[in-house]
């Protein structure tokens, strides 16, 4: 493999990391509160708002059921509005963020629903406000699940980012298609796949370790001894 190709691989890796990191971060900032709202406005919960809950749920489902490649094209005007262009890495980040936000929201919602209702009642009995219930009970108790959900999201985003080449976003997937598929350079394709595997493994392992550390419901033996 020529030095040129190695340089291209490195550049593509950085583009992928850039796209995944930015879209993952922005989607978390938007998706976690959205997940919280989906839970607390649900029937019988601390801030029940049935109409709002139904509207948000429908929007989330609509975005999630749109194929990414279609979503990317469909929101081009919006993308141009936000980042000023419809091509390039920045232009790919917008649809990636929009696709990941409802994904995160649903995963966060699922984790928050796992929190025992008895805990909510216990802090209600202390006189906690809805905001305190979210901050002191729901989020901390669901944190291991939320971290696991964010890990899944980052892995999915890495996969989605391969389609960014469609809008000239670059990245590993795009490189693999252009060199490996369109120019029949199998070694480049193989290198891309290996880097992606390592990347995904790394993200997943880091997420698993973090989620386990945060989970105090099951205390590891060694950790318990160390205390």
């Amino acid at each position: 493999m020529s030095q040129h190709v190695i340089f291209q691989l490195l550049e593509a890796l950085l583009e992928t990391l850039h796209m995944v990191a930015v879209s993952g971060t922005v989607a978390s900032v938007l998706g976690i509160p959205l997940g919280v709202i989906l839970v607390v406005t649900g029937p019988g919960h601390i801030l029940e708002r049935r109409a709002l809950n139904r509207v948000l749920g429908t929007i989330v489902n609509a975005v999630r059921s749109t194929p990414f490649i279609i979503l990317m094209v469909a929101i081009i005007p919006f993308t141009r509005l936000v980042v000023g262009t419809s091509i390039g890495t920045a232009a790919a980040i917008v649809p990636l963020t929009i696709a990941a936000t409802p994904f995160i929201a649903r995963l966060v919602e699922a984790s928050l629903r796992e929190v025992d209702h008895g805990l909510i009642e216990a802090v209600q009995a202390m006189g906690a406000s809805p905001l305190q219930i979210v901050r002191k009970v729901l989020l901390p108790e669901a944190l291991p699940g939320i971290v696991a959900g964010l890990t899944i999201t980052l892995v999915s985003l890495t996969g989605f980012s391969a389609m960014a080449g469609f809008v000239g976003g670059g990245g590993l997937g795009d490189l693999g298609i252009r060199y490996g598929y369109q120019r029949f350079q199998g070694d480049v394709m193989a290198a891309v796949v290996i880097i992606l595997i390592l990347l995904v493994q790394g993200v997943q392992s880091a997420g698993d370790v973090l989620a386990r550390r945060l989970n105090k419901r099951i205390i590891d033996r060694e950790e318990s001894k160390a205390r």
């Binding site: 805990l119 202390m126 006189g127 105090k216």
Partner: protein, 372 residues
């Protein structure tokens, strides 16, 4: 409606009556069910005095938990008033209700500790909820509470590392953190083994004495009520069917529900072998069977001896049991009275004269007695 409010005003304005800690007046609660609303509490009223330990007992589904959860508005009554410390909680707007809830601590059957927080941080939580309390102040208030419940050495452990009894101790320390005047215990020992239950009840009794905190304890176990409570209400199908001191309840249960609840721990009933020999009709050699309940100060007198001397009637003891409730003896003795049925009525009236309770249960044939 107006009448009930007048009662409240009357009490508040009368300096002679000390204000009760908790008053529930005409409280009803209905839940939406598949076939229309289900009445869980029906027009129920009760009063808990300051510093009392008040037990609420009933079979499962009687509405006990709903009742105590109405005290701090975890369940909002469909109608009626709940007055805690002179404040009608049913009429408070949300923010004021949250502030008032700090005066009411609560512990739960399943402890409801936050798994993500250490023992210390769980106990500190109510203080964080109050807000504006610095870290030093929190430590100053949490540490003695951990000492009180005997968990000072577990302060940095997580609930997952504790036993059930230790978890409930954390629950108790947490409930006391906001310095409440009422502590609600909702089946607080039902998930614990008998020995742990005893130690938790002892801790609650100690807290009641030391902090003069009013305790309301709900249980389906008479043993728990007997050990801890001074006063008790028996709940059945959303209504209070019997109410009074625990001693009086044991000494003279009036309703079937109470008798059933008492059966497990107080040997009021005759053993099967004897009971099946007791008949309503008197046979030629039948002897009357009496149940004598020894209660109050008279329980200390040598009553049996005096009966034998006065009536010259041989008393055949069939079954007996003496219990101590709140340190006072309560005896239940079942005897067959020899020497003719005419004695029975006279003995009962004499017992009543002593301040004891005599009940006529039936007859038992003398030959059956010797067989037994």
């Amino acid at each position: 409606m107006d009448g009930a409010l007048e009662v409240i005003d009357g009490d508040l304005n009368n300096p002679k009556t000390p204000m009760p800690m908790i008053r529930m007046i005409g409280v009803s609660k209905a839940f939406a069910g598949a076939d229309g609303p289900v009445d869980v509490l029906r027009n129920l009223s009760l009063t808990v005095e300051k510093g009392d330990i008040f037990g609420i007992i009933g079979r499962s589904g009687a509405g006990k938990s709903t009742l105590v959860r109405c005290i701090n508005m975890l369940e909002r009554p469909t109608s009626g008033w709940v007055i805690v410390g002179g404040e009608d909680l049913t009429s408070l707007p949300p923010a004021d209700l949250r502030r008032s809830r700090r005066r009411i601590g609560m512990i739960f059957q399943h402890f409801n500790l936050l798994s993500s927080r250490t023992v210390f941080d769980n106990v500190a939580l109510p203080l964080e909820v109050i807000g504006g309390i610095g870290r030093h102040e929190i430590r100053r208030r949490v540490t003695p509470l951990l000492d009180l419940v005997g968990l000072a050495d577990k302060r940095d452990q997580y609930p997952a590392q504790l036993s059930g009894g230790q978890k409930q101790r954390v629950g108790i320390a947490r409930a006391l953190a906001s310095d409440p005047s009422v502590l609600i215990c909702d089946e607080a020992t039902s998930a614990l083994d008998p020995e742990t239950t005893k130690s938790i009840l002892a801790l609650l009794a100690d807290i009641n004495k030391r902090l003069n905190i009013t305790i309301v304890i709900v249980s389906h176990e008479m043993q728990v009520i007997k050990e801890l409570a001074n006063n008790v209400a028996v709940l059945d199908r959303g209504e209070i069917v019997e109410e009074g001191t625990v001693y009086d309840l044991f000494a003279g249960a009036k309703t079937d529900v109470t008798c059933t609840l008492l059966r497990d721990i107080a040997s009021r009933e005759l053993p099967e072998a004897i009971r099946e020999r007791v008949t309503a009709e008197q046979e030629p050699d039948g002897q009357p069977v009496l149940r004598i309940t020894f209660r109050g100060p008279a329980a200390n007198n040598p009553v049996l001896f005096e009966l034998v001397r006065e009536f010259a009637a041989p008393l055949n003891i069939l079954h007996g049991h003496i219990d101590y409730i709140q340190g006072k003896p309560l005896g239940i003795l079942t005897v067959a009275v020899g020497g003719g049925a005419s004695h029975a009525a006279a003995i009962i009236s004499r017992l009543n004269g002593y301040g004891l309770r005599g009940e006529f249960l039936g007859y038992v044939a003398a030959r059956d007695l010797s067989a037994a």
